[in-house]
C-alpha cells in the first residue's frame, strides 16, 4: 500500500505542516511503510472477536456534576504566547470571520 504525494500534502495541510519537496518524498516513503506494517494486521482473522473501540477494561467512568475551583486568570494566561493589554484574553493572529 503506497501513499501518493498528493495524499501526503493533504495530510500535511491538515496537520498545518509545511514540507519541502525532499520532506514530502521522505514522508511518502515513511508513512507508506507504517501503513504497510499496519496492513499486516488486517490479514488476521477477527471473525470471532467482537469489535471494540477501546482496549481499556473500564466503562462508565463518570463524575458528579460538581464545580471545583479553577485556575485564576493570571495562572491561565501565564504561559500564553500573547494576551491583550488588559490581561483578560488570550490573543491570536486575526482570523477571518467564519473562516476555518
Amino acid at each position: 500500500m503506497s501513499l501518493t504525494r498528493v495524499q501526503v500534502l493533504h495530510i500535511a495541510e491538515l496537520a498545518k505542516l509545511k514540507l519541502n519537496d525532499a520532506e514530502v518524498d521522505r514522508m511518502t516513503q515513511q508513512l507508506s511503510a507504517i501503513l504497510d506494517h499496519a496492513a499486516r494486521l488486517q490479514e488476521l482473522n477477527t471473525d470471532a472477536i467482537p469489535p471494540t473501540a477501546s482496549v481499556v477494561p473500564l466503562h462508565n467512568v463518570m463524575r458528579d456534576d460538581v464545580i471545583a475551583p479553577s485556575f485564576t486568570r493570571a495562572e491561565a494566561l501565564a504561559n500564553a504566547p500573547d494576551q491583550d493589554e488588559r490581561g483578560e484574553f488570550f490573543r491570536v493572529r486575526a482570523i477571518l470571520k467564519g473562516g476555518q
Partner: protein
Amino acid sequence: MEYEPVIGLEVHAQLLTQSKMFCACSADYAGAPPNTHLCPTCLGMPGALPVINQRAVEFTILTARAFNCEIPEFAKFDRKNYHYPDLMKGYQISQFDLPLSRNGFILIDDAGTIKKIGIRRVHLEEDTAKLFHDGNASRVDVNRSGVPLMEIVSEPEMHSVEEARLYSLKLRQILRYLGVCSGDMEKGAMRFEANISLRARGTTELSATRVEIKNLNSLRAMVHATEFEIARQTKILNAGGTVEQETMGWDEARNSTFTQRSKEEAHDYRYFPEPDLPRLEVSRAWVAEIEARLPELPDAKYDRLMRELGLSSYDAGVITAERDVAEYYDRAVDAGKARGVEAKTIANWVSGELFRLMKERNVEIGAVKIAPAQIPDLIALVNAGTISNNIAKNVFEEMFATGDDAKKIVQAKGLGQISNRAALVAIIEKIIADNPTQVAGYRAGKTALAQWFVGQVMKATRGQANPALVNELVADKLKSL
C-alpha cells in the same frame, strides 16, 4: 419548474449542568469575567484527562427519550480533529458512530396539520471557546470551552421555512420543559446549522448536492438564512445552472450567505475513538430510571387541557407554551375543583388578565405574587355574586400587585357588589327624578336611553352594583313610568 425545499437542521443546545462536560470548571460562562473558568482539561494542556459529567449524559438520554429516540446499549466518544483558535486541544470530543441515541421524532402543528419530523440522533459533545475579532488580532475567551453541548440532528424532512421554524420552536419548548437547556438564543444557548437542497415538487429523491449553512446563532438567523438560500438555489436552477455542494456562513448584517468551504476542501475530521474516555454502557435499568424523570410533555398537556378540561386550542396552546405556566394553571384548576370553579374560567383569567399583567409589568411566572389557588377564590366571589366581573379585574390587579387574597381586598376596599334591591331601587328613583329630559326622551320612544340610566346607576354606585340586577330594575322602573 416548481421546486420544493428539503431542509435538515442540526441544533446545538447547551446543557444546564453546573460544571463542564469533562472537567469541574463552572459551565455558567455567560456572565463570568473572561478566562476565569479554566483548568488544564478545558485549556487542552498536555497530560490533562477528561472525565465524563454524568448529569450531561443523563440530560441527553432524557431529551432523547422525550424525542422518542432509541437508546443503544453502548455509546462512545470520538475525537473530531481540526485546527481553529476556538478549539484548545486541536480536536473536539464528540460522538461519531455510536451516539447516545438515534431514530426519534417530534410532532409539529403547521396551521392545524400535524407533521412528524424525524430525529436522526441526539449526541453529546463539548462547546468551543469564544472569539472576538478586532482587526489584526482576535481575542479568545476560553470560559465556554468544554461546556456540554447536545447536538440534535433532524432527518431532512422539512419542506418549508415555516416547518423548520416550528420544528425549532418545538425543540426549544421540550428542552425547556425538561429543564436541560435554557433555550436562550440571545445568549447562544441554542444554535443552528441548516442543510438545504431543492428538488422538483412531486419528486421524492434527495438532491445529490446540498448546501450547509453554519453559525446560525438564533432562530431568526436560521429563518433568514434558509429563506435566502432557497431563493438563491431557485434562481440558479431556474437559470439552468446547478447548485454546488458547499459549506456557507451567514452574514447577519448583510443578510446573505457566503461561501466558507467548497467541495474540494470538504471536512476531513479524521474521527477516531477518544482514547481518554472509556466507553459508556447504558443499561436498561439506567434508561428506565432516567425516563421516570420525564415530566408530562407539551403535546400530552395540550391534549389533556383540550380533551379533559374543554379548553380552546388557543388557550391550551398558550397555557402549555411554558411548563411553569402550565403547572401554575394545573394547580389553580386543582384548587378550583373544591370550590366548583370551572377549568375554562380559570383558563380565561390566566390567558387573559394574568398574561396581560405579566407582559405589561415584565413579570415572569415564577415571580407572580398570586398563588394558583387564589385565582379560583376570586372567581368564586364572582360566581357568588359578591363582585361583578369588572370589579374582579380590579381586584385581580390588586392581587397581582400585593399577593393579597381576593376576599381581603374586597372587604378592605368595600368592593362588595350591591345586590340589595331596595337600595338600588332608591338610587334608580332618584336618578329618574333628577333627569326629566332623559325620562321624556325615553317616553317619546328613545328606548336606548335605558342603557344611559343603567350607566348612571353604575356611576352612582362606583361600579359596585350588580349589573344584571340593575338592568332588570331599570327596565322595570322605566316601563312602569
